[in-house]
């Protein structure tokens, strides 16, 4: 490849970006109700193995397997979130790490799916399917956030007690957010399993849970787009750090440390998206002055 061709990632990297974006959003949905989960790789593992068994052992079509994965993730997420309702903050984070360790150990000792040697035979996910999944999820979250439910997520995060007093069913909202997040992680796992072709319990360890939190916090925890940007950047960085050989982990680590010290709110915060929206609006206004005047006139008539 010559020129800037090296900047275009390989097909497998493109799919990895998609999967990581969905993982980042799964963490993002949970954190948007103030629930810090560091065990999402458990849900990812369940989705990956669930969908894998569905396509390989039961010869079900891929689409059905993906839906099964989402269902498994949602169900298990609900199951986990009930005891998790009693614990909050760092206690919740630790509890989810515990769940992740238990699930990982379960798959290591579950011979039906190969135990520690792993499970293979899944195939069939293409870049376009991953891209479609990402677009669907983006649309879903975007709609969710502008709905009444999305607003109540925000209210629960800001102050649970106030939200409760206002008549919101905080239990329902927190369980729902956790289940949605778990289902998304599960979907990501199912997609991952069907293009990586081979899965093993150690693919879903503590690190696999931590990485999406990096994406979200680096990109920005306040918006959907920040989380996605973080996933894209941190998936691509290792590719471009390849000339550094083994040293890239050190550079990567120090970059995150520096980032947290100087911009803890992440690259894209709400104020950034507002600025972009404003800039876009003024651009449109400058292009179409007539329309703006008409609107202003309409507003003026409303006032008078």
């Amino acid at each position: 490849m010559d020129g800037l061709g090296f900047l275009i990632p390989k097909e497998s990297t493109q799919m990895m970006i998609g999967v990581n974006i969905i993982l980042a959003w799964s963490f993002y949905i949970m954190i948007s109700t103030g629930q810090l989960s560091l065990g999402n790789s458990a849900f990812m593992a369940l989705g990956a193995y669930g969908a894998g068994v569905a396509t390989v052992n039961f010869k079900l079509p891929l689409l059905v397997a993906l839906i099964i994965a989402i269902a498994i993730g949602g169900l298990f997420g609900t199951l986990v979130s009930f005891p998790a309702l009693r614990v909050r903050g760092m206690y919740l984070a630790m509890m989810t790490i515990g769940v992740e360790e238990v699930v990982q150990s379960f798959f290591r000792n579950f011979d039906y799916v190969g135990g520690a040697t792993g499970f293979r035979g899944m195939k069939g996910v293409t870049v376009w399917m991953v891209a479609l999944a990402v677009v669907l999820m983006a649309f879903f979250i975007w709609r969710l956030e502008s709905s009444r439910l999305g607003r109540s997520f925000e209210a629960v995060r800001d102050d649970e007690m106030v939200a409760n007093t206002m008549g919101l069913n905080t239990t329902y909202i927190k369980v729902l957010a956790f289940a949605i997040g778990a289902a998304m992680a599960s979907l990501a796992g199912a997609l991952y399993a069907h293009f990586i072709l081979f899965i093993a319990p150690e693919h879903f360890d503590f690190w696999q849970s931590i990485l999406p939190t990096f994406y979200v916090i680096l990109g920005g925890v306040q918006t959907l787009w920040g989380a996605a940007l973080g996933a894209v950047i941190l998936t691509l960085l290792p590719e471009y750090f390849r000339p550094l050989k083994e040293w890239w982990i050190i550079v990567y680590g120090l970059a995150i440390v520096a980032m947290m010290a100087y911009r803890p709110q992440g690259l894209i915060s709400k104020s950034v998206t507002l600025h972009i929206a404003k800039a876009a609006k003024s651009l449109i206004r400058a292009r179409a002055p007539g329309a703006t005047e008409a609107r202003e006139a309409a507003q003026g008539s409303e006032v008078s």
């Binding site: 810090l36 005891p83 009693r86 614990v87 909050r88 903050g89 760092m90 206690y91 919740l92 984070a93 630790m94 509890m95 790490i97 515990g98 769940v99 360790e101 238990v102 150990s105 290591r108 000792n109 360890d205 503590f206 931590i210 939190t213 990096f214 916090i217 925890v221 083994e246 040293w247 982990i249 050190i250 990567y252 680590g253 120090l254 995150i256 440390v257 980032m259 947290m260 010290a261 100087y262 803890p264 709110q265």
Partner: protein
Amino acid sequence: MFLQQVVNGIMLGSMYSLVAIGYTLVFGLLSLLNLAHGDVFMIGAFFGLFLLMALGLPLWAAFVGSLVLAGVLGLVVELLCFRRVKPEYHFAPALSTVALGMVIVEMTRRVWGTQPLSIPKTVEAVNFSIGGLLISSIQLLIFGIAIVLMICLELLLQRTRIGSALRAVAEHVTTAKLLGVNVSRTIIFAFFVSSALAGIAGLLLALRLGVADQNVGLSYGLKALAVMVIGGLGNVRGAMVCGIIAGVAEVLAQAYTSAAIANLAVWAILIVVLIFRPQGLFGTRLQTERA
């Protein structure tokens, strides 16, 4: 047989206690997780190994050396990940310490290679038999050092000026400030103490395993973190007791069931404790508010 396993469990547990104390000291002061702690614990063994092998120092000097070096590394962690952090971004240090831990592990791999290194036989392995229980000299050394350190820490916290400053900051930062406590110095001190303890614990674990392993931060370190939570966030005595409990539970599970279940013992305890006592086993009102 049963008693023998309990004794072995206490030996293992005392190490969990040492590391968990480090997590809990920092959490008590700042209400923030220091996730690089497990990796400081890991590198403690390599510091000790370096002093033993490359410089040919005696074992006690290696202990003092890895105490100091790990303590200094703890100061670096504080400087890079905690000093600048604003209270409203309380997830930031959790992530930057994970990243720094990653850097520490990778540095260890660059310097000492990716394979675990075996520790030279510095302690003569003599087995003592006390009432039918077999205890090796290494086990005795590990347990002795761990207990002495914990007693020292308890005295430090309860009897000295800096100890009461530490407890005051843990109770309420603003009030402590008003009473004239130098908060930033207290925090730095806490980081040094917690990392120094982790460094020694790392060397002790290496003596027990016979190797200095690059991966113990994730296995033992993460379990020690669970122990800290079981004991109640920021509760030093809770961390000590629960470390022992976790060690005994793990060794008993290993003896009577399988290694896979033993590996999960700590996590199972964590989940059960959090379901029935969300503030931890020894958690009080203070611990609930901190979360």
